[in-house]
């Protein structure tokens, strides 16, 4: 067994999600990503089951694996109980941890996603936190969103939140001891290691382009090249 396939086999999502694929294409028919992007979960599953190391490496460096929305609609429908969505998750993790993500535009976006998620979780204990969710980055938040942002404390008080307050409740301040435990979990389970890989390779790329960290982040957050769409 090749090195990459062996690594995939260690991922529980892969173990659960990869049985024999009969290439029926049902997953592709139901997939919301396949309609929007040049994306075909059937061919991903088929390529992986071939165990062809070269093909798998190509896949890990490609744009393709980043198109999935992880909705898991494919899981309900696959007649062979495969889970293309879970297989994609295993491929993405491997692509990040092996550093292959840096070869694709969609893969490179992972750096900004990680920055945002880690900062929200480790500083506040939430994946999404209202003081870091900015209208400027989210114009679809709408005119109501703008109004909420401008009057954040007042509106949350009005509807009964406990924003940054003590004790239980909506958007309470999560105690430091709990945030410390999250940090310990990140350390022990390889989350910081994943971030280090993302940081190191993203910095190398930013340097090679002569961009500051901020400019580079801005670029990967906003850039869409031609060729992704159906």
């Amino acid at each position: 067994m090749g090195k990459l396939y062996e690594k995939l086999m260690q991922d529980y999502r892969f173990k659960e999600g990869m049985k024999a694929c009969i290439n029926c294409g049902t997953c592709t028919a139901i997939c919301p990503a396949a309609e929007f992007y040049k994306y075909d979960p059937r061919s991903i599953v088929d390529m992986v089951q071939s165990r062809d190391e070269e093909a798998i490496e190509k896949l890990l460096k490609s744009e393709t694996i980043w198109y999935c929305g992880e909705c898991m609609s494919c899981v309900t429908r696959c007649p062979r109980k495969n889970a293309p969505g879970l297989i994609v998750m295993a491929l993405r993790s491997l692509s990040i941890d092996e550093g292959y993500f840096i070869h694709s535009e969609k893969g490179r976006q992972q750096y900004v996603i990680n920055k945002e998620m880690y900062s929200n979780i480790l500083n506040y204990g939430y994946c999404v936190y209202p003081r870091t969710f900015k209208y400027e980055d989210h114009p679809e938040y709408g005119t109501t969103g703008q109004w909420i942002e401008q009057n954040l404390d007042e509106i949350h008080k009005r509807v009964g939140s406990n924003l940054d307050g003590d004790g239980p409740g909506i958007l309470r301040k999560i105690p430091d001891e709990d945030l410390m435990q999250l940090r310990n979990i990140f350390e022990q389970t390889g989350a910081f290691k994943r971030m280090d890989t993302l940081k190191r390779l993203s910095k190398e790329r930013a340097d090679s382009l002569g961009l500051t960290e901020e400019e580079y982040s801005e670029q990967i957050f906003n850039t869409i090249s031609e060729g992704h769409f159906n």
């Binding site: 899981v75 679809e140 509807v159 999560i174 906003n222």
Partner: protein, 356 residues
């Protein structure tokens, strides 16, 4: 006939939902965008139905959005989940209720994976001890908060101040129900009614007097897609999927949409605004959008809560057309007030979609 037959098959997916004594955990997205929904839920179950729901300030995100945007490894998310289970164990509870659908799917996946691979559960237990000095029992029962409202839907109907009926015509309101993908698409037997014919929201609608609309893209994802929304460059994915759903439901002329996932109502509400700004197109009557609600908001309206206490002013699409159809009394002048009636200004009017 085939449809009826299938409905019968899926109706066998009737999960067990305990009567009482829950450990309750919140949702990041719901707290950010629909905070009053969680407040309403707890008020209904505790004060109207007399149930015991325990909450601790020590619970955190389950890490679900980070996990499904591939930011954290599986072991990270599993240990965070194990920590939440430990908090439940310490508090002396066995029934776990969560507000988020991403969490619900992830808890289910984690428990199923541990069943298949006990060595992984053992490893997570070890990591949890090392990092947090905690131990846990797996919940005897896992419910999404919508399962609980579903279970008590008829009791809510008995206490109803308003029904999902158009007071002018006397006809049932036409309701689109949208189920979060992670509720049952991975593990159909864990959701009420399974993945193809989920009954969790349909049951509420029927019990409260409305009529459920069946339309082609009923089971299509709202388009969140995690990284497909989080990164600005990818958001066309999210918008296109919502657009597809609205184009599919529009001919059926829905009066309202009800959802059980915290993210879906945000996207279905806000993308309607974006579609109107981009194309000048609106999907409701007379230039309005189709109002989108959480199930807690709808339960609250049925029970006679004030719409602004329910936080409906935080929606972009105006809810007033629906309030008027239901005959709900409300004070338009109070919509945008802050705490204690303080005037804090109003949102700007969008260019196309009508707001009140």
């Amino acid at each position: 006939m085939i449809y009826e037959g299938k409905k019968r098959i899926w109706s066998e997916y009737q999960k067990e939902i305990p009567e009482d004594n829950y450990f309750y955990v919140r949702s990041c997205i719901r707290q950010n965008f629909f905070p009053a929904s969680e407040k309403t839920f707890l008020d209904i179950v505790r004060n109207r139905l007399g149930k015991d729901f325990f909450e601790t300030q020590h619970h955190t995100t389950c890490g679900g959005i980070a996990y499904h945007s591939d930011a954290i490894p599986q072991e990270t998310v599993m240990t965070i989940i194990a920590r939440q289970f430990a908090l439940m164990t310490e508090a002396g509870y066995k029934n776990y209720a969560c507000s988020c659908i991403t969490s619900f799917g992830l808890y289910t996946e984690t428990m199923e994976t541990w069943k298949l691979f006990p060595e992984l559960e053992a490893k997570i237990r070890e990591i949890l001890w090392k990092t947090c000095h905690k131990e846990f029992r797996i919940p005897e029962n896992l419910a999404h908060a919508s399962d609980i409202i579903y279970k008590f839907r008829n009791m809510i109907a008995e206490k109803a101040a308003y029904r999902l009926v158009n007071v002018k015509t006397g006809k049932p309101l036409r309701v689109v129900e949208h189920i979060g993908c992670h509720y049952a698409k991975m593990f159909p037997s864990r959701g009420v009614g399974g993945a193809e014919y989920p009954y969790v929201l349909a049951g509420m609608i029927e019990s409260w007097g409305g009529e459920v609309i069946d339309y082609p893209e009923r089971r299509h994802c709202c388009g969140f897609g995690f990284r497909q929304y989080l990164v600005k460059a990818n958001r066309g994915y999210s918008l296109s999927n919502t657009h597809k759903k609205f184009e599919s439901m529009a001919p059926f002329k829905p009066d309202m949409i009800i959802t059980n996932c915290p993210g879906c109502p945000y996207f279905m509400d806000r993308w309607q605004y974006v579609i109107s700004e981009l194309e000048g197109k609106t999907y409701g009557e007379n230039g309005y959008g189709i109002p989108v609600f959480t199930y807690e908001e709808v339960a609250g309206l049925v029970l006679g809560y004030d719409p602004w206490d329910l936080g409906l002013q935080m929606h972009q699409v105006a809810v007033e057309p629906l309030l008027d159809k239901m005959g709900i009394k409300y004070d338009p002048a109070k919509k945008y007030l802050g705490e204690n009636g303080k005037y804090i200004g109003k949102p700007q009017m969008p260019r196309f979609i009508k707001c009140c």
